[in-house]
């Protein structure tokens, strides 16, 4: 089932035409209404009239998160505050939050995109959608909620947390679709198991997960634990929220809603636009927003684009899963390390749960790198040699994959704090 065939299955020529028209309107709008953009464009010597083809997009300046922070809170809005009916902000862990605003039309566009995503996951009016993303300034909860309601599903606005209740209502209310972060989905799957409920006792058929990067190994664990098919939904509040893209039944990349967002991949160092298939930083230009349209916004997410034919029938460009953020990448003893790589190693061991914590520190002028990981329930505790050997094996696998050594310490299952939203997996005490 496809929510919007005209938009999702348009031929390339039609889509290009739609994109150009909307891009021109957007560039004109921000030039007129948003002083920071007018200044940027004047500095770059470019005017709205210079946008004559989609090729001209690369001549426009980039937008960074710092632009939003520097113009906190409403400096980047292109609509009057009276027209803004919703404000969201991202959880700035350092300094001020990043603020975004939505007009009524923006909220409808957002709901449209999320409805398309939920439909990709097999959703329709008969679905019972349990939204376990946090509700509040975070775009996850209200974003999923708006789209599910727009689609006509029965929405259960659980927000995150209260896992025992999530499981009880999931079973009693017969939820068919779960929306939350992948790490929370794992937490819920664990709770289902602990309650002694088997996956066939719950009505869940699919899950739509996002808001943090997750690995194929985590997907398998979630699908098995909940008896569902898991779908990736992608987005960021600056660009809109969840729903910018979503994976379809083919599970080979996420379809980007091209009539609302133009995607580019750039070399993060040079800013040069890269061809399809090459890894680089994902950049979005919003072409349907009124509240806070953004031109060439740098996401810091690393991925690549695919434009080959998708068997699902949709013609929209697909992005690979996010391979890492250029800013959660760690550099330890001179080596680039992604927490997702550590997950790949942990997933190989049945003896471990998927919960871990990395500690990066500094001692005697060298970086230290340690990992706490939990022993899974059911493993035999009696054999001390077995546990010692397990530790050696895990350390060996980490060294082989990462290229540097990591000291592993085991904990009892359930010792590490459980994630209800975005999981914190790294404690870096170095003052870099």
């Amino acid at each position: 089932m496809i929510w919007n065939k005209a938009a999702e299955c348009a031929d390339r020529e039609t889509m290009d035409r739609i994109q150009l028209k909307k891009l021109q309107a957007t560039v004109k709008r921000v030039y007129q209404n948003v002083q920071p953009y007018r200044e940027k464009m004047q500095e770059a010597g470019i005017t709205p009239g210079d946008i004559q083809s989609l090729d001209d997009l690369k001549n426009l300046p980039f937008t960074n998160k710092t632009d939003l922070r520097d113009n906190y809170p409403y400096g980047m809005f292109s609509s009057h505050l009276n027209e803004i009916v919703r404000v969201h902000a991202s959880s700035g862990t350092t300094g001020k939050p990043t603020v975004v605003g939505y007009t009524r039309s923006d909220l409808e566009s957002w709901a449209e995109c999320v409805a398309r995503a939920l439909t990709m996951a097999g959703g329709d009016r008969s679905s019972v959608v349990q939204v376990a993303y946090g509700y509040g300034l975070f775009t996850g909860g209200l974003g999923a909620h708006g789209g599910a309601e727009y689609m006509g599903a029965s929405v259960i606005p659980m927000s995150s947390g209260n896992t025992k209740k999530q499981v009880m209502l999931m079973r009693d209310f017969k939820s068919t679709i779960l929306c939350c972060t992948p790490s929370y989905a794992l937490t819920i799957a664990e709770a289902v198991k602990k309650e002694g409920i088997s996956p066939d006792e719950i009505s869940l058929r699919s899950g739509v997960f996002g808001a943090e990067p997750w690995t194929p190994e985590m997907r398998t664990a979630i699908e098995k634990g909940l008896g569902i098919k898991a779908f990736d939904i992608y987005g960021l509040s600056e660009v809109m929220g969840p729903g910018v893209s979503c994976s379809c039944s083919e599970q080979n990349g996420m379809h980007i809603q091209e009539d609302y967002f133009i995607a580019e991949i750039i070399d993060p160092k040079t800013g040069e636009v890269l061809p399809d298939g090459e890894r680089g930083e994902l950049v979005f230009t919003t072409i349907g927003k009124e509240g806070i349209p953004l031109i060439r916004y740098r996401t810091h997410d690393i991925c690549y684009l695919m434009r080959d034919k998708c068997a699902c029938g949709r013609t929209t460009v697909r992005m690979s899963r996010v391979l890492g953020r250029s800013d959660d990448m760690l550099i330890i003893r001179g080596v680039n390390v992604f927490p997702s790589q550590v997950e790949t190693v942990i997933a190989k061991f049945n003896e471990l749960t998927m919960n871990y914590m990395l500690y990066v520190g500094r001692e005697n002028n060298t970086d230290t790198f340690d990992m706490d990981v939990e022993l899974a329930e059911g493993i035999e505790i009696d054999n001390i040699a077995f546990i010692e050997k397990l530790k050696t094996r895990v350390e060996h696998e980490l060294r082989t994959l990462l290229g540097i050594g990591c000291k592993v310490k085991f904990l009892s299952e359930g010792t590490l704090p459980r994630s209800e939203g975005k999981a914190v997996r790294v404690k870096d005490t170095r003052r870099l």
Binding site: L375, E377, G378, I379, E380, I381, D382, N383, I384, I387, E388, K409, F410, L411, S412, E413, G414, T415
Partner: protein
């Protein structure tokens, strides 16, 4: 004739063992026997309790990784050669011993109980019984 022993994973942090004993106390669980095998960063605590399955469940609820292992409890004479008498039987039948710990009585007791972990408890029971040694069930041990 096998005895269900609980093995618990203990991280090597101050208070972990004390907390473990508190959990037992809070749940009215008494240990009949106890030993701890320690390593660099963790220890494995092995103990015998009245209801091992229930105790395992309670420990897991309290955040401890635990599992159940089958061991045997053999009556041993409390004098020189008492343990040798038991172990030589196992050795003669090519059975290796993983670990051993004892439940000792007072000076006046002539006998005590030795807990042995072997790879094949069934064979061990057969072999020891045929040599005239006495094995205990869990509820026979105080």
């Amino acid at each position: 004739m096998y005895i269900k022993q609980i093995s618990v994973f203990l991280e090597n942090t101050t208070g972990r063992l004390a907390n473990f004993t508190r959990v037992l106390a809070d749940n009215d669980i008494s240990m009949k026997a106890l030993c701890i095998a320690d390593s660099d960063e963790f220890g494995i605590l092995r103990c015998l309790v009245d209801d091992p399955e229930e105790a395992k469940k309670i420990l897991q609820e309290n955040g401890y990784s635990a599992s159940i292992t089958e061991v045997i409890a053999v009556e041993m004479e409390s004098k020189a050669g008492g343990l040798y008498k038991i172990l030589k039987v196992l050795a003669a039948h090519d059975m290796s011993v993983d670990y051993v710990y004892s439940i000792v009585g007072t000076r006046s007791d002539e006998r005590s109980v030795i807990i042995i972990k072997v790879e094949d408890p069934k064979k061990a029971v057969d072999v020891l019984t045929s040599e005239g040694l006495r094995l205990f069930c869990l509820d026979e041990i105080e």
